[in-house]
């Protein structure tokens, strides 16, 4: 410990002696680390598990209702379900919890006269959606299976909509005007907008800074003809007009999520899907053998490519920059250390061991790493704040600075610089004491 203080003093003195070179190395490390950490903060935000405690139990069933070669060129079934299949899965109810999900955009009229109506984005879901996804409530709760069955006029609203319509507070039990009809508020959500929006990747592309504002019972929304406001993909044009025509078609527009506990349950559900498809084949609706998928949430998000390619390429390029900065630092440290061959020779001749030289020069590298880390912290801060300017709108606000990111920044700067210092230090420790004394 005593020697470390001495090495630190030596390092500071040496660094002060060549301020240009020192600044250069600190700048390189600082910029390299900051670029990497800034792009990493975006990558971390978009690639994170939105529900880590449960994602391995959540599954997305896909059924091929279009037949071979109809969805792109691959053998993948469509990314969503049509109405008939989604309803069959709901009816059979083979999962612990499950919900069909579709995007709606009803207008909502705030309570009290003279307030402008607002457009609320939300979903038609089943009551099990809320406990299945551990959706947090500020007041009240979701609705029951009974409400689903009776198409009850109940709604769950976001905190934001609660503010807009009622001015906040516990409004469970009060009436809210949604698309011209009265609904009873069953629950008010706490702040909830997980990213990626894993329960509806198809419509959202995975990210949106605006969370859902309203949830209605799926069958209630269907019954009042609240049309789907998201993506629909069709193999054939619907034969009948209107929203009913869409429901009778094999166009896909419904997201689906099922909770399955344990490998056995997953296996049984897989079997169930295949049996279902085989039944459809027997009934003549499918003219191909079962082609289903049952991916768990992480696999499904990967399949849907929710992490934008640009985000990955940016991170890669920034890591490349960091590597160049490190190569640069190795070169500069080498120059800096070998320039002091004389000093090393004298120290060695006076009895300093090789490991002492190692300790001294690695300390010096470490000091540069800390300097680069501190600069990197500042630049990462600027970078994360500024990166929103260059991100697509749906990703704005996702990248955040937190203690973990800051710690990682300094850690990477120091470790990377120490690694960069190993070879130059090794070369310095090889300096022969006698030779240096002679030549001087």
């Amino acid at each position: 410990m005593h020697m470390f203080g001495y090495y630190l003093e030596l390092a500071m003195r040496s660094l002060k002696r060549s301020p240009g070179l020192t600044t250069l190395m600190v700048l390189a490390i600082g910029f390299g680390v900051a670029a990497s950490m800034t792009t990493y903060s975006v990558f971390r935000a978009v690639s994170g598990d939105p529900i880590p405690w449960k994602s391995s139990k959540l599954f997305v069933p896909q059924i091929d209702m279009w037949g071979p070669g109809q969805h792109g060129g691959d053998r993948e079934p469509p990314d969503a379900l049509d109405y008939a299949d989604a309803m069959a899965l709901m009816r059979d109810h083979r999962a612990t919890r499950q919900s069909a999900i579709y995007l709606i955009s009803p207008s909502v009229i705030p309570a009290g006269a003279g307030r402008s109506p607002v457009q609320a984005n939300g979903y038609g879901v089943y009551g099990e959606f809320f406990p299945m996804l551990d959706v947090p409530f500020q007041y009240g709760s979701g609705w029951s299976a009974d409400d689903d069955a009776h198409q009850s006029a109940v709604a769950v609203i976001s905190d934001k909509l609660n503010q807009q319509v009622f001015g906040g507070g516990n409004n469970v039990g009060r009436t809210i005007d949604i698309e011209g009809k009265d609904y009873r508020v069953a629950g008010v959500l706490a702040d909830w907008n997980p990213q990626p929006i894993f329960y509806d990747v198809m419509d959202t592309g995975g990210y949106s800074s605006d969370g859902p504002d309203v949830f209605l019972p799926f069958q209630r929304a269907i019954a009042v003809n609240m049309t789907n406001s998201g993506v629909n993909e069709c193999r054939d044009s619907p034969a009948e007009p209107g929203f009913v025509g869409l429901q009778h078609s094999n166009c896909v527009w419904i997201a689906f999520m099922a909770e399955l506990d344990g490998a056995g349950a997953v296996q049984r559900y897989r079997q169930y899907l295949d049996d279902y498809a085989r039944d459809q084949q027997a009934a003549g609706r499918f003219t191909w053998s079962p082609n289903n998928r049952l991916r768990n949430l992480p696999a499904y998000l990967d399949h849907m490519h929710v992490v934008p390619g640009d985000t990955k390429v940016s991170l890669l390029v920034a890591l490349g920059l960091l590597i160049v900065c490190l190569v640069n630092t190795v070169g500069l440290l080498l120059a800096k250390f070998l320039r002091r061959s004389g000093e090393i020779g004298v120290r060695r001749a006076l009895g300093a061991s090789r490991s002492a030289i190692y300790a001294q020069f690695l300390t010096e590298a470490g000091v540069i790493g800390v300097g680069g880390g501190v600069l990197g912290l500042l630049l990462t801060g600027v970078g994360v704040l500024g990166v929103d300017l260059v991100l697509p709108i749906r990703l704005v606000g996702l990248a955040r600075i937190d203690p973990a990111l800051l710690l990682l920044t300094v850690l990477i700067a120091v470790v990377a610089t120490l690694l960069a210092g190993i070879y130059p230090t090794f070369r310095a420790s090889r300096v022969q004491p006698a030779w240096q004394l002679k030549s001087n």
């Binding site: 070179l21 250069l24 700048l27 390189a28 910029f31 390299g32 670029a35 792009t39 207008s107 009229i109 402008s116 109506p117 607002v118 457009q119 011209g180 009042v224 003809n225 609240m226 049309t227 069709c234 054939d236 044009s237 619907p238 034969a239 009948e240 007009p241 209107g242 929203f243 025509g245 869409l246 390619g309 640009d310 990955k312 390429v313 940016s314 390029v317 490349g320 920059l321 590597i323 160049v324 190569v327 640069n328 190795v330 070169g331 500069l332 080498l334 120059a335 800096k336 070998l338 320039r339 990166v387 300017l389 260059v390 991100l391 697509p392 709108i393 070879y423 070369r427 030549s439 001087n440």
Partner: protein, 415 residues
């Protein structure tokens, strides 16, 4: 000057030389790919839409309490609401023309399908985006009609997006006409939009980009079709052509006028009334951002590499101070010393760029395999190589000149 002494000297600095070579190679590989990405993005956001973008406004709004049924009475009511809005907008000062217009290029909202030559939907098809609108659509957007006729009031249907009705007449953009009728005789021909009922091509417009800029839309980026349909729904969109320079005024007046006619509507600031320049900025925000990000990384990269060359060369100059003095004392001119370091750098950078080109190609191939990326053209490679060599020369100049300033008298002093 022979290169032999340079090689001999370089052999004594293997580690330093290897590091500079490596750094130049990596820098070249990354910069080359990053600059290519920038080039591609700039190319993307310079693509023409085919419409006259200046003095154009899009209004999107939804009525509150409008009928949501698909029955005929509801549809008539919705259409009446829309026609009232169109008349209101048309009567505003500074408005040249107004059209019912479901989507615009770059707006992201797209309805698309395969157009076929036969009802069975087999054989030659063209995936196309549909632009629904009334008889003012083509002229409001400023589309150039190159054959046939425009829609007239008698052509216009009105129904919901989920109707099974098919328009008997359509106008197609030239790429659609060329794809389905390579002989160039598309005008007057019959095609099938839904595989059931025929539509006749009555007009051809020169160019019209589809509403999406997403990568899945790239294969049919200019396959657009105009349908003479005023789409009825609880929401409706309009395109407005204003008098030059009056965009902002019309945006303000339009909001006031529409709310005066019917206050029960949703028309938020974010997407209710937008100028086309706003729509363009939003559509290409990600591409512009990626270009800026790549540009920033390139600048840092080049700066770091240049600084690295300056640093290491300065060290070598310092190390060889005495040798330089000896050479000067033996008759070498200052220019010889300068050239020595310049040629040395050229040799190092030369090895670096050869290695760098290989790395750049490798990185490019890898990016092509995993992401949407095209092959880097030779032009970019050549430019990057020349830029790296120039960077090396620029970076070495300062230390090399310092070396050339070493006086011959140094040779006589003790090291």
């Amino acid at each position: 000057m022979t290169v032999h002494p340079i090689l001999a000297a370089l052999r004594r600095h293997k580690a330093g030389v290897s590091l500079i070579v490596l750094q130049i190679a990596l820098t070249l590989a990354i910069v080359c790919n990053a600059v290519f990405i920038i080039g591609q993005r700039i190319e993307r956001l310079n693509r023409p839409t085919g419409i006259d973008e200046s003095n154009l406004i899009k209004i999107s709004q939804a009525w509150v309490g409008a009928p949501s049924g698909d029955d005929a009475a509801s549809i008539e009511k919705l259409d009446a609401l829309q026609r009232t809005d169109l008349d209101t907008l048309r009567s505003l000062p500074d408005v040249k023309e107004v059209a019912a217009s479901e989507s615009l290029p770059l707006s992201g909202i797209i309805w698309s399908s395969d157009i076929s030559l036969s009802p069975e939907d087999k054989g030659l098809t063209a995936q196309s985006a549909y632009y629904y609108g009334d008889e003012h659509l083509r002229s409001t957007l400023g589309l150039h009609l190159i054959a046939g006729r425009d829609f007239n009031a008698g052509d216009i249907l009105h129904h919901t997006i989920r109707s099974t009705d098919v328009s008997p007449v359509i106008i197609v953009a030239k790429p659609v006409a060329d794809k389905l009728f390579p002989q160039g005789d598309a005008l007057g021909k019959t095609v099938y939009l839904d595989g059931k009922k025929p539509s006749t091509i009555v007009g051809i417009v020169e160019q019209l980009q589809t509403p999406t800029t997403a990568s899945w839309g790239n294969p049919f980026a200019y396959n657009s079709v105009l349908l003479p349909v005023r789409l009825d729904g609880t929401s409706a969109s309009y395109a407005i052509r204003t008098r030059p320079g009056r965009e902002q005024a019309v945006m303000h007046e339009a909001r006031k006028a529409l709310l005066a006619v019917n206050p029960m509507r949703i028309m938020p600031d974010a997407w209710g009334i937008q100028s086309f320049s706003d729509i363009r900025a939003k559509a290409y925000r990600a591409d512009r951002g990626m270009a800026i990000l790549m540009g920033t990384v390139c600048l840092i990269l080049l700066g770091v590499t240049a600084a690295g060359i300056v640093g290491l060369t300065s060290f070598w100059v310092g190390q060889r101070h005495r040798q330089i003095g000896v050479r000067r004392a033996l008759g070498a001119r200052r220019i010889d010393i300068l050239h020595y370091f310049q040629i040395e750098n050229l040799m190092i950078a030369g090895i670096g760029v050869v290695l760098g080109v290989l790395l750049a190609v490798g990185l490019n191939l890898w990016l092509m395999a995993h992401y949407e990326m095209a092959r880097i053209p030779l032009f970019y490679m050549t430019a990057a190589v020349l830029a790296m060599l120039a960077l090396g020369q620029a970076a070495v100049f300062v230390p090399a000149r310092r070396a050339s300033n070493v006086p011959p008298v140094v040779a006589t002093r003790a090291a």
